[in-house]
Amino acid sequence: MARSVTPRRKILFTLAAWSVALLIFFPVLWTILTSFKTEASAVASPPQLFTADWTLENYAEVWGRSDYPRFFWNSVVISVGSTLLGLIVAIPAAWAMAFVPGRRTKDLLMWMLSTKMMPAAAVLIPMYLIFQRTGLFDTRFGLVMALMLMNLPVIVWMLYTYFKEIPGEILEAARMDGASLRNEILYVLTPMAVPGIASTMLLNIILAWNEAFWTITLTTTKAAPLSAFIASFSAPQGLFYAKLSAASTMAIAPILILGWFSQKQLVRGLTFGAVK
């Protein structure tokens, strides 16, 4: 909506927009700032934005008290693993739905999305029992499978909306040139679909990283990711604000940084192709 604007109008809107954005961001900023304070200044009244006695003590203590690298690595394996596995299953499905649509394609997509409507708490006990019996409980593989299936409808849907934008004529041309189905997917479709696949991948890594129901209930120690790490810091114990903030920062920093860098692709992915 580019219209002629007076400088005064622009300054006014800039001020307003930045105030709102900083207000939304403030809790994250406050947590990061608090993580560098001593416990005493963390609860100082009135609250201080910056303190003179800033320290790395909290990080050292959180690092010493729990095995952060293990939680971190579990988060990486689970979120990246479930996303890659999901892509392997979803790419052929989305391809078929986009290029060989049947009468039932739309219903099928809606059905897939509706499986996500099942509240996780409703099937907690059966899932717990299944995981115990099959030896998947507290394993990274078990969580990779669970999160892959949980996010599969979203992956299929997103890929489908991207693939649909690829003109079918190109595929027909490739087919006429004698490309096999395999080659068609490998050399024609995939390069054109890479941006779509990339945003799908990003969004799903973030969804899996932030998943905090199955990752907490289906693990104890071995496979526990950062969501479980933070849950262990939630119990108030005396002066703990600065340490809680440090642990929180450590849990969200990796995905926050990834998200900031990939913000553009991510937003495009988030719209599920329905908004251009």
Partner: protein, 290 residues
């Protein structure tokens, strides 16, 4: 254009996703349905057998059940209303010619990257805590008594926290829709003397219909199962004041250790979710040409 063989190939390519999702859905669902008709208490394992519809009866007769249903709907409705109204306003603001739109978007999207237990514990401890929270400090500074957010207004507090988490999603999707609008239409309307409000109401808002549909659909899916935020902050209390259906089921399973009742609650929740899903998909399906 599709030949018979390509149709078969297409079916084979869709099959793994469909079969996996079907198993993922049907196995826990049938187990839950089975348990819901059984007497199954972890605290008294010697008593077992068929329960008939006793587990379901317990749910329907529990005063907490109706509270939990209304809390669940309140949470979904409240968060949807807040995020869409504020999302539209913030998107309109950021869409204005302002300096630093890139950094602005990065600031606004940030809450989306914060995992729910962290978001909940930040708000609970650093902001809403009655002694050390920032809101309490502000209240004391102004000479007022600190508000006990999680004790006095548990549902409102939970809705507030969840809205903060989902506001970026709504804002950015609505912003994307706004930025795809052609300015000519607006300029023409402006020249014809349409005021700012009628331009918004008759041109901008209809243009954002699809985006709003996406926001409602995706958010409802995630909001119906909200659990972590309640678990971290109010634990469903005080009393049952902020107990939602998923949390009530969790309490039956993990605290009361009555698997039969929890399963009955699970089946009720799944039926309710499907009713919501049905109406949602029916009214929104047309809007999203899938």
């Amino acid at each position: 254009m599709a030949t018979q063989s390509s149709r078969t190939a297409a079916r084979l390519m869709v099959a793994p996703s469909v079969i996996l999702l079907f198993i993922w859905m049907i196995v826990p669902l049938s187990l839950t349905a089975w348990f819901s008709f059984r007497i199954y208490r972890l605290l008294s394992p010697e008593r077992n057998g068929w329960a008939g519809i006793q587990n379901y009866k317990w749910f329907f007769n529990s005063p907490d059940f109706w509270l939990a249903i209304s809390n669940t709907l309140l949470l979904v409705g409240g968060v949807l209303t807040i995020t869409i109204v504020l999302g539209v306003l913030i998107a309109l603001l950021i869409d204005q010619p302002v300096w630093g739109q890139g950094p602005l978007r990065i600031l606004v999207i940030s809450p989306f990257f914060v995992m729910p237990p962290v978001a909940a514990s930040i708000w609970e401890n650093l902001f809403m805590h009655p002694q050390n929270g920032m809101f309490a400090s502000a209240a004391i500074g102004l000479g007022m008594k600190p508000i006990l957010f999680l004790e006095s207004y548990p549902m409102a507090s939970v809705i507030f926290i969840v809205s903060w988490e989902w506001l970026p999603f709504a804002t950015l999707i609505l912003l994307t829709a706004l930025q795809s609008m052609s300015s000519e239409q607006l300029e023409a309307a402006e020249m014809d003397g349409a005021g700012a409000f009628s331009r918004f109401w008759y041109i901008v808002l209809p243009h954002m219909k699809r985006a709003i549909t996406v926001v409602i659909l995706i958010q409802t899916i995630f909001l119906l199962g909200i659990f972590g935020e309640i678990f971290t902050t109010t634990q469903g209390g005080p009393g049952s004041a902020s107990t939602t259906l998923p949390y009530m089921i969790y309490k039956q399973a993990v605290i009361a250790k009555d698997i039969g009742r929890a399963a009955a609650g699970g089946i009720i929740a799944i039926i309710l979710a499907n009713i919501v899903a049905y109406f949602l998909m029916r009214s929104m399906g047309k809007n999203l040409d899938a």
